[in-house]
Symmetry: C3
Subunit: 310 residues, 3 copies
Amino acid sequence: MSFFNRDVISITDFNRNNFEELFDLTEKLLDKKVSNLDILEGKIMASAFFEPSTRTRLSFETAMKRLGGDVITLVGEEAVSIKKGESFIDTVRMLDSYSDIIVIRHSYEGAAKLAAEIANSPVINGGDGKQHHPTQAFIDLFTVKRLKGSIDGLIYGVLGDLKYARTANSFLLALTRFNPKKIYLISPSILKVRSETRDYLVKSGITFEEYTDITEIIDELDVLYVTRIQKERFPDPVEYEKVRGSYRVTTSILKNAKPDLKILHPLPKLDEIDPKLDETKYAAYFKQAYYGVPVRMALLLLIFGVKPDL
Amino acid sequence: MSFFNRDVISITDFNRNNFEELFDLTEKLLDKKVSNLDILEGKIMASAFFEPSTRTRLSFETAMKRLGGDVITLVGEEAVSIKKGESFIDTVRMLDSYSDIIVIRHSYEGAAKLAAEIANSPVINGGDGKQHHPTQAFIDLFTVKRLKGSIDGLIYGVLGDLKYARTANSFLLALTRFNPKKIYLISPSILKVRSETRDYLVKSGITFEEYTDITEIIDELDVLYVTRIQKERFPDPVEYEKVRGSYRVTTSILKNAKPDLKILHPLPKLDEIDPKLDETKYAAYFKQAYYGVPVRMALLLLIFGVKPDL
Amino acid sequence: MSFFNRDVISITDFNRNNFEELFDLTEKLLDKKVSNLDILEGKIMASAFFEPSTRTRLSFETAMKRLGGDVITLVGEEAVSIKKGESFIDTVRMLDSYSDIIVIRHSYEGAAKLAAEIANSPVINGGDGKQHHPTQAFIDLFTVKRLKGSIDGLIYGVLGDLKYARTANSFLLALTRFNPKKIYLISPSILKVRSETRDYLVKSGITFEEYTDITEIIDELDVLYVTRIQKERFPDPVEYEKVRGSYRVTTSILKNAKPDLKILHPLPKLDEIDPKLDETKYAAYFKQAYYGVPVRMALLLLIFGVKPDL
């Protein structure tokens, strides 16, 4: 199944061929420095963020506008007042009436899936609760491919909140489409990877191990994916204070790292990565953010079934 | 008087010829599936919503963008802080300096009219307090014409808050430009149609009757227009609880309805229509919402005096 | 140094030639009534207003859109939540990844300068705390030139809060690039012009005098620049009440004014100018607001290095 006219709800809806088709087109856009195509003129994206997100929203809007399309935006107070008022179903029907594609973020799990069942236009999940963030996973794996040459055969560490962070979970599910050599899951014990994701890794034949201390395996990693740990997840603030230091990536933690280790982070980051690392060769997260627009441009082109003349 | 360069403040500013010109162009846009015209390139709409409204705002913005124009948006917090600060007149002058057309929603009655007196650019009233909502009435009557073939000769029911709902009042005023066979006004007694509207119906020679119970006349209706009843309108919450059931449209209320009855609602709806009806042949409100964009596209084309090559 | 690819942080970064180049292009856009150029197609402006400002934001967005470019907007709640969360530096990196030019307003002084150091794309300061508002100063001086024929040789009064108002300070700094005959600085004694600005005037050889009472010199003025005086600046509200009357421009204050005096105000105005003056020949502030778009269009064209065929 190609991307044409398709919803993007969970990363598990896509196979390796889909990833490769998307990444090939993204590479072309990057290599030919295409920042401006008049190819989606008159097409409207509804950008509906019931939960705020500047990064995902602005990069989708930029992608659509760089392709010549336009955007209607529902965000902030208005989105909140809708949440309190009319049914979500009616809101989706409205957005579907007006637009050719819908990007939706919502704090409820399954919101994007429900929207996709209602809408005729394709629906892209821009994050639903703690569940999925498929386009972030496309960007994450594209970044690995671009910087490491291949996604296969590498040793990955995924650090932080593996229970609630949708980005980390979508990243792990995405890796099952490839052949990672090994994945280390590093988290405080109360934030261990959730069972659906663990089961999916097992079922997919992925080799993985769970750790609580990154220093034990840092020397093995080719890629380190970091997510935030939120204090609110800990019933006891004292527990949080105990572990927080171990989940902050610093120069000292990296002293045994491979020289070509790449650190990814979906951003925004707070203090989980020492800003001193921002300018080092390890930091891949700003490049990763930069790839957000071309990956989303490629995705829109494939969903609209429009082939640019590159 | 044609639409060219004209303000749209009250539906009573327009005659039957205006309605027909607008509806003919809308039909053409729909029949030729025109979703994209490059005809208003470089034109700017100021979309100024001092009172939130996603539906009216987003459909106007979509219409403008589908015609190749662009939009500057003033909404939410910013609009509120303006309300508290500089004079409304200065704000309108600003919007007028920047844009080629202004769409304005405001909680004060007469706000759009005042704006039109100040601005050189045409001003479209997107709703002013409880008073007018002319473009909604254009959409409502277009929906009747499209689904019933004609606006004349039909029996209409208008149900709900007929005192404060600007949509219901603009719908009634719009009907005076046509020859409805009869209009039933159905509301709780404290929300009976306001006197200006009643007087206008009388003056226009419209046959109408007032009821409090829809079941008495449901079998006669060709079109039922429903609006929300707000609890806050009732001085005593007990009074509200007494009547609310009678103003909720359900399968049981419809059991004596004509098979080709069409139910309209300006949306958003809360619980005044049983969602079970959404998928029935009676429900015309999602089509009505869908017509919001093409009717507004046609309106913009006529005001800008641009004839598309259809 | 030309404007090409350049940041616009402080008005003192620009010399007389820059002003003249900008003003010449603006004159051309106005004289040829250019409201629509397809010349920046595919270019994206990030419009990031961490402090609300409808006038600056909407006129920049209008300018960009009239040139065929497009805009991504970060404003209101979202901007505020960013302020509380990720580092300003990371936010700027994000905006820089997505866009070709960044317009930024922030309540912290130096925010735009910091952004310019981080971003590869040009950064335009849309106001940073009490410090600078360079594009407003371009508009102000363009207005003088357009309405008086020349900026040189005139007598200027600058009235109001000269300590904290960034607009008044940027206006004064801008005047140092020309040869004003004299500048009268008129303010309550606790809001006298700040020392950096006074020093800069001295260093630039500008003739100026400080007054607390405008009536003493009103008859000499060719241009009167008015800014708001905020009650919050006065430690004692009684002090504020004492002076406020003297800083409100009224017909009576103007009775000895030159017939061709022009009053400027960066807007929004509250009650510092009697609205009765709005329709008089003195009032230049609505024209000044109107020039906001063409001056900013010219600025964008020069920064992007795109020469329109005029």
